[in-house]
Assembly symmetry: D2
Homo-oligomer: 343 residues x 4
């Protein structure tokens, strides 16, 4: 048996027990989970903004250690430290064969932490092709941010940023910060807009360590408005109007934040005459993940981690994230440790 | 003196007289206008949907013959048949130097037929770089459709059609038809949606002569709905909702029609999760025009011309276009002939 | 048991017997082969230009009928007509995870007809993801040319043809013809250079049926030299010098033909100053295949088939291809029929 | 009158006098030259590797101050500090209209410092569109390296570096260093190969100040061979064989260095099977220049300048560059100061 955080019918997390999963098919790998990042999506499930299967083990931004491998696994061996790519795809459907693994037709029952058991647990079994070796000089703390980095790369690709020109990122949560760091690393000057002062301070600290120049952090007030930029990424999800105001002619706006309630009124003629692109990227595609693994080796993403809890402390973990907007944030990236970290 | 159709204060066209323009700067070319296509924009000015400078000579889709050249013109010589590229740009401003001639900062006073004298007249003077030689085997009738083709190429580029996959075009006016012909020529299967039966019939006739297969023409009713396609181009300008319904996941919608009153409500989450791109292309860039000149040589675009009038008959010319939507269209492409055609 | 053409140690084909392959893993599919195209590579093996494993069943451009499926196959069912994608990839190695399935690290033992049994036989077993349903209105004869079309798409992609501009194709064998047809369909004017008059005549017949204009077929003499074009594709494999002469400044040359003995002397300064790209495409990537399946439905590729033989007639099949260059060709595409066609 | 360095018939530079150029056409600007970088091409002219017009004023990597403007110049005003874009283009020929200004048909007589008077002089007149304002916080020393940066951007674009993956640059002269700095800024890890130990030391000093990690400098010996990379840029011009050895499958090699004597033997089959691209970029296009101006504001390129001389000291300036390969280099970027710097 093993410990696991299960989703209840009334949308709470509960520490329970689950049979330890086992290697069944020849490419399966048993991983002892070290830690799992808490994603905005996890929080959305608990507050009812995004739905998941009751009874599921939640969690998907995981890193851990290989414990056992199936007979046809050649790239991994017990003891290896690995990163989980939680965006599964079948590799056989029409979309996968076209390379659009992010629109795989075989998603049902394969969304880790949503309708298939995830990594807020001590162990997990996954096919080898969804496990990536952590480079020797990369810590678990950095590696756990690989998945958000893959999301960022996907959205930056969708932005089609012209020749490393300036980028505005709306929202300085973990996703906004990872986007900012990635865009800056790829040569763009970045302006981060964040209304919360805790997050602005935190962002300053993080970024100033990363780069000597090229990232500004500003408030959301109308006085703080940055110059128009060729690319604006909305990591909040309900800021399309602002994003269109902030983007240059011939520029592009990327919707990256999830907000199921958001609606926006657009004028098609403005899109036409200003030559704008309003874009969504979907999930990342398969090839974004190995790119993210490589890129993470060069970016000190571990600095985003502000809090660390055990499986038992899960209520505290979500408490620091549940702060009402009025009261301000008190956390950035929160990780939950499993058997691999705590035993 | 020469004849010219002038815009009155109360938004009518009036046949008047104007001094014949003369070659002033070393790169100027005097062109005797053969004919000018009537563009949706011309009609929009007269019905008050788009504004232009009272007193201006309207018209911009022009072809004609070189009559006189400035001392530094080397590429053209009197007698040459030429196509006008009416989308002027300065070549010196920030945007032009970046190659974004379509967002030239020096537009004021340089929009032909809008705030600078156009080609519903007998003569016109223009810089050599905005005049393109008509290939020997291309007629004036075909050449006059080069400018709409440049618009189509610009919008097809903006669509970033994946590997010649299917395209849906909403609206089978001249612009929709040119888009359909160009997209089909570039390898896509095309479905044209048009609510007017006259236009559907006309479209059938045109297209069936061009291509043996690969273009469908359907009505706008809900029964006629084509399959979802990776690309949808709205040449009406107020069909964004329909376009989003018709586009495949990971696909793109291009807003091409002008409608200053159109508004649409979009859900950013849908754009994100479906991986959509909603795009406007602005005007075409400089390099689209020579591409259009070359491509026109291979496409029998002259078949779009349904009516032909003289400058004197300008009221009839707009009458066939002014049909109320309720009563249906009775024209497709209308051209107005000037000195070069009628003397 | 079943019939199969086996490669002997002294590089001949021999009709022999082989155990009928069986469905072993859950995604396996047993296919009764209808027919297989003879590829330039097959001939290269027999004349000693390309090496293959003695004892192997040769043949890879196959179509056939599903006879039996493994328990996890959902997309196919017995009776389905299918096309084989013979360019296998593991889907798990570093290169596959990056989307570069054409450089899969797991090629050894997986090259169909080279070091793994192929389709000059009555039956074949393959994983479902390498079998594509033949669209209802596509014949086996057309479908058998899907694989060459996938090769052509891969090489046209590598060419990065600017906006459907002209293409020169050197060599009018099956590969050159498929490239020409695909490039023309995608909007380019094409010139085919072929030194053999039988092939030029055949090319004319094929192409004239496909397209009303836009493809020229010329000889290889210096008098026939076409205009420089932005793209030149060498399907012979030893014509790099000619290709560089024929390509426009800022253009690209694609090496598509295999010639293990070819060498060429290039001047780097010419490449630099003329802004040239000399490109090889490798094998096609996974997503090229479904694109080829779709595109084949629109192109009457079956017209390339000039000869048809049974497995027993294999010597005749290669005889029509073995014509010495001096004596000229007498065949274009040759297919060999198996159980699915002949029983 | 003014001072100017003139090319003699026997390929020496001579300090002479020239009439001070004057503003003639409405867009002309008179610039007092501050300083001019010595380019590899200048040296190539003097050692007979590249030809120029005897009697011409050499020099083209110039910065200076606006002294007088023509009546239609609006973007500049006397006193402005400006950078010269020396890659002139007409803006009217076929190539320019297609956006390929780097292959302008009107080059003859317009190559600054080659067949049209350049900037090793006190003054120079140029059209406004070839003069760019130096941003307020950028020094003349940094600005003088904008032109090499535009060359680097052009060649990095041509490389089509996949998602900021590693780049190998052969040669650590000024061009190699600027490429390395630009590629690193755009997110790639860079390895510089340089056989000269003075240059390796200098490169270390420069780069270590720019970036905390991500640039390696290695010797040219076979022991120093870096790992294969997706992109290799040869700034020497005769290292194509090495470049092909060092590039990964599916990667690209860019020829950037000029060497009129270099020849290389390539095997087309290797290019095909390895999926390689061998590319030349030609000159940069117009839009690369404003991008370089912007990017220079973020990169401390002034550190490349190792020597500074007056017009009178021109012999010393070229002496530090003329070091025989056997004896090693003693300079990196050399600048020559004119009236704007020395008066
Ligand atoms: N597209 C992808 O690939 C991808 C991947 C991972 C995550 N995401 C999404 O990206 C978003 C950001 O993720 P995260 O982890 O960085 O979450 P987060 O920022 O910690 O939480 C997002 C919250 O920030 C608040 N917020 C911040 N700035 C705001 C502003 N200017 N105006 C209004 N509200 C503002 C909103 O909080 P309240 O609503 O509580 O007021 C919003 O829901 C989430 O929606 C997440 O689901 C997308
Ligand atoms: N983006 C560009 O580069 C570019 C270039 C040239 C022209 N245009 C624009 O493209 C549009 C089409 O041009 P055109 O010459 O082909 O004009 P058109 O089709 O002859 O006229 C457009 C009109 O079609 C009617 N219409 C057609 N289908 C419709 C549908 N499904 N639902 C509602 N209305 C429908 C509307 O008429 P009513 O409004 O009268 O009912 C619409 O304004 C115009 O707006 C034009 O200004 C754009
Ligand atoms: N890159 C890919 O994806 C791919 C895929 C399939 C096939 N291929 C290759 O593409 C090439 C063409 O295939 P195919 O089926 O169309 O073969 P093919 O043309 O029937 O045979 C190729 C032969 O054409 C002769 N040839 C034609 N024109 C020539 C010219 N101008 N100068 C000299 N020789 C000329 C040569 O014959 P001789 O050597 O007998 O004199 C050459 O080897 C083959 O090398 C094949 O292996 C490449
Ligand atoms: N493509 C463009 O846009 C562009 C723009 C500007 C300059 N360039 C060219 O780029 C090249 C480099 O310019 P630069 O200013 O940086 O010149 P540079 O390095 O100071 O001089 C180039 C010289 O470096 C020597 N060299 C360095 N490494 C070498 C190696 N591994 N093997 C052999 N020789 C080596 C060679 O000298 P020796 O020949 O004296 O032995 C070579 O000619 C020049 O050819 C220049 O003309 C190109
Ligand atoms: Zn799938
Ligand atoms: Zn402009
Ligand atoms: Zn593989
Ligand atoms: Zn030019």
């Amino acid at each position: 048996m093993m410990r696991a955080l299960l989703l209840t019918d009334d949308l709470r997390l509960e520490l329970g027990e689950r049979a330890r999963p086992t290697v069944k098919s020849p490419h399966d790998v048993l991983v002892k989970i070290h830690q799992t990042g808490v994603c905005g999506t996890d929080r959305s499930v608990l507050v009812g903004k995004f739905s998941a299967e009751p009874g599921v083990v939640m969690g998907h931004e995981a890193v851990g250690e290989v414990v056992e491998i199936g007979p046809e696994v050649t790239a991994l061996t017990p003891g290896d430290r690995v990163i989980v790519n939680p965006t599964l795809y079948c590799g056989r459907c029409d979309m996968c064969l076209r390379g659009q693994t992010n629109f795989c037709h075989d998603k049902t029952g394969n969304e880790i932490g949503i309708d298939r058991d995830g990594s807020f647990a001590d162990y997990m079994v996954l096919e080898d092709r969804f496990l990536h070796l952590i480079p020797a000089d990369v810590s678990y703390d950095r590696a756990v941010l690989t998945e958000p980095l893959a999301c960022a790369l996907n959205n930056l690709d969708a932005a089609q940023i012209p020749s490393a020109e300036p980028v505005v990122v709306i929202g300085a949560g973990p996703i906004g910060l990872v986007c900012a760091v990635a865009a800056r690393h790829l040569g763009s000057a970045v302006t981060l807009i964040e209304r919360d002062s805790f997050r602005r301070d935190h962002a300053h600290k993080l970024i100033d360590g990363f780069f000597t120049s090229g990232v500004d952090v500003v408030g959301a007030g109308s006085d703080d408005r940055p110059d128009r930029a060729p690319t604006v990424i909305d990591t909040v999800g309900n800021q399309l109007g602002l994003a269109i105001d902030l983007v240059e002619d011939a520029g592009s706006v990327v919707v990256m934040g999830y907000d199921s309630r958001a609606e926006a009124t657009v004028r098609p003629l403005q899109i036409l005459q200003r030559g704008l692109r309003v874009t969504g990227a979907g999930d990342y595609r398969g090839p974004h993940f190995p790119r993210a693994v490589e890129l993470a080796a060069r970016l000190p993403l571990e600095r985003l981690i502000s809090h660390r809890f055990t499986l038992e402390e899960h209520e505290d973990a979500f408490a620091v994230l549940a702060a009402a907007p009025e009261t301000g944030y008190s956390a950035l990236k929160v990780v939950i440790q499993s058997a691999g970290a705590t035993e």
